[in-house]
Symmetry: C2
Subunit: 466 residues, 2 copies
């Protein structure tokens, strides 16, 4: 009986068309991030288990895939390694480990899979890619502005237009909560509760606040200020909107110094972004909380039209690297969710036509009785054009080989039968038009080169320019 052939639960095989789509998106992400001076980093899939534990909160801890110790220890059931859960903690470890080899301002992007033992659901997988971009070493709001611009450029290049980068600040949230009278030790509890507002609604958050022990009066003020009946940012005047938002924020924090400093930083990010691609997408949202506990400053989240959840998010985390290095180093970053971007782009047909491309430009056919080594020589010649050339692996009826080319979307097919051999030509059939052209064998490379160049310039492969 054959073995089970399914991929592991919550994980996926990516067939060629899937990989081509993923590579297209990843290629654009890379190109744009490089344009901002970010450099590539890669870290191992496995980390020592201590590196990950205690970094993602109690819930996160449970979702870490743990690897059994090997050899004589295997029977003990002990674990010593764990699969990467995000790309931020490995980055913090790398900065601490390689400090001397990295520039003072280390700007890196990292596009790798992470693993979480979440319950699989539509659009939620146990292996998925993150596209992270982080800037280490500066407290300047230039960092936030550059990150928002880079992410906006990525989304524009992919064809997204009507997205918003929601912007808030942990210092402002802290200032508001203190002003509202929420005890310090309960701040995290409040942030966790209001972060769920999209899932559980306003009433749900009210219940959670009570359950998490927030006193009634502070809870009421939290709800009023941070979980209003949501009015999405529509088509209105952003500058005017922000005047009102900042006025309200000032009202909420009173003379709380940290809160006022946070407002100043948010205003600065706004101002610095004025001439960047992020400007028309930035929306300060006092109700944005973000789940992760390591954020210390600005926090960001990308929302897109009516898509539930977000396309990505990020923020400033000036404390995380210090856990590894013993010395505080400021850091700020953004993470794009590749899987959600792919889902939206697939559903809305946002891929250019040439991404779902045929596996080859030309199929070289084989005949029984003809010297096959000549066909392989022809293939070598065509590949040097350069062209993508598939050789039908076995001599077979010509009709069958034509049919194969059609089914694979390969447009050109070469035929060298005994007639062609005698005449010193190659017959090339265009499967789209049915036209057959006899090309002298010596001129075939030049002919194909010109032909592919013309096709690339035409609408058939009109990729989006980045």
């Amino acid at each position: 009986m054959p073995e089970h052939t399914r991929p592991a639960r919550g994980m996926r095989d990516f067939l060629p068309d899937d990989v081509r789509k993923r590579d297209y998106v990843i290629g654009i992400v890379r190109t744009v991030y490089q344009r901002y001076g970010f450099e590539p980093l890669e870290t191992p899939a496995l980390e020592n288990i201590e590196t990950l534990t205690g970094k993602y909160g109690e819930e996160g801890n449970k979702l870490i895939f743990k690897v059994l110790r090997r050899g004589e220890h295997e029977a003990s059931g002990e674990t010593d390694l764990a699969l990467r859960y995000d790309l931020t903690v490995p980055l913090a470890r790398v900065v601490a480990e390689h400090r001397g080899r990295l520039p003072r301002f280390f700007k890196r992007y990292q596009i790798q899979p992470v693993w979480r033992a979440d319950r699989p659901a539509r659009g939620r997988f146990r292996e998925f890619y993150q596209c992270d971009v982080d800037a280490i070493g500066s407290r300047s709001m230039v960092v936030e502005a550059e990150l928002c611009a880079a992410v906006s450029d990525v989304l524009h290049a992919l064809g997204f237009e009507s997205f918003f980068i929601l912007l808030n600040h942990r210092g402002l949230l802290r200032g508001m909560l203190e002003t509202f009278g929420v005890p310090d030790r309960l701040h995290d509890q409040v942030l966790i509760a209001i972060d769920k507002r999209d899932k559980i609604g306003r009433a749900g958050v009210a219940t959670e606040l009570e359950a998490r022990g927030i006193p009634a009066e502070p809870a009421r003020r939290v709800l009023d200020a941070l979980v209003p009946e949501r009015e999405g940012p529509g088509t209105f005047d952003l500058d005017h909107f922000h005047e009102r938002v900042f006025a309200k924020a000032r009202e909420h924090v009173g003379d709380h110094a940290g809160g006022l400093a946070a407002i100043a930083e948010l205003e600065q990010i706004q101002r610095l972004s004025r001439m960047t691609s992020a400007h028309r997408h930035l929306v300060v949202d006092l109700t944005l909380a973000r789940g992760l506990s390591y954020y210390t400053g600005a926090i960001m989240e990308i929302v897109y039209e009516d898509l539930p959840g977000s396309l990505g998010g990020g923020g400033r985390y000036d404390g995380l690297i210090g856990i590894f290095l013993g010395e505080a180093i400021p850091a700020c970053g953004f993470s794009l969710g590749l899987e959600r971007i792919l889902v939206v782009m697939t559903e809305r047909g946002m891929f250019p036509a040439d991404v779902d491309t045929a596996p080859a430009d030309v199929l070289v056919t084989l005949f029984e009785g003809e010297p096959i080594e000549d066909a392989l020589g022809l293939a070598a010649q065509l590949r040097s054009v350069p062209a993508r050339v598939e050789v039908y692996p076995e001599p077979d009826r010509l009709g069958k080989q034509f049919k194969y080319a059609s089914s694979r979307g390969i447009r050109l097919v070469t035929v060298v039968g005994s007639d062609e051999r005698q005449a010193g030509t190659v017959t090339v059939k265009d499967m789209d038009t049915g036209a057959q052209t006899g090309v002298p064998r010596g001129a075939i490379a030049g002919w194909l080169g010109a032909r592919l160049k013309a096709a690339a310039a035409g609408p058939r492969v009109a990729g989006r320019e980045v």
Copy 2:
């Protein structure tokens, strides 16, 4: 006290220069494989544990990283998932699982990491990349010839010249062993022993053969035929060499039908390769055994000058997919070892100059007191050229920012002080020559575009053409 910051044992962090080198090689591998009509495939890092166990022999089994079950099962110490050990078994699973969606001749490449709990050593890691290329669905020797040509093209494009693709055939080995009188059930034992010849020498193999219970007379004949004093293929006439090798092979197998059929296949691969890039690299080596047990036909291994071990290897495995599908499907493939290729290329300086490239083309400087948003606007304009532009994140002394550009290898630095602002210009300093140029702000994008184009055409970034 800060936490440990080392990557897990036997695993590596890849800093930007490392990633750029890896991406360069991977880019060439992809491009060449696509030129042969191979399509990309990716599979999950984790497989159900049953998918992997029993596929890699007893030794391999021990080296598989196993993942603990989660939740309530965690305490049991049970495992249900395992990390990918190679790319061939996942391919076989994928072909069985997605049969209906794949073409009759499925040609795929796959470039992903695999994990093996081997004892780490120089050049041996627990996480490493494999670059696999396989053709599914045909028994034709055209497949072997195309694979050898593709691999040769990859190595040529990377700058390797003096490599050999050693070629042998499991059917020929079987034929010889039967003719020599080795009992069938001991064939695998003999192959494992002679596969170690480079590590343990001729005497070592003799000892192993005895320890593995091979009778004296067959063992003597095995040693004489398959573990001769090694004479490496030097600069000699390959055709003449092969005449002798095939004559010797015929002598060894006598009238053993399977052995003779295998010789015919090897001769066919030779003949089919005559007009491909593989021809001058193919060397039939009757002593090549290959460790893995799933090979059924031709086997290949790439050796390079005095490098111990190989750059890659492969072969035909017509039985493996059947384990998953319940129906035999022929298959043949090649695996290149990315890590060894990188080691050789780094040691011998085989990377083109532009691979170890600077992180940006331009550094935009910032001044205290000047409107930083204008600098970010300038950066946006330069990025649209397109150019790779880093913004110094904090206003600072100009000298310090110049020094930073130098240390990062960023050649051009823009300065917009109050003089430039008044004059409506941007000063661009070339850190290599020290020259400073004043460019009107409105013309800066055009100026930079022309400048980068000229640099790209020059020797500074003369990449190898593929």
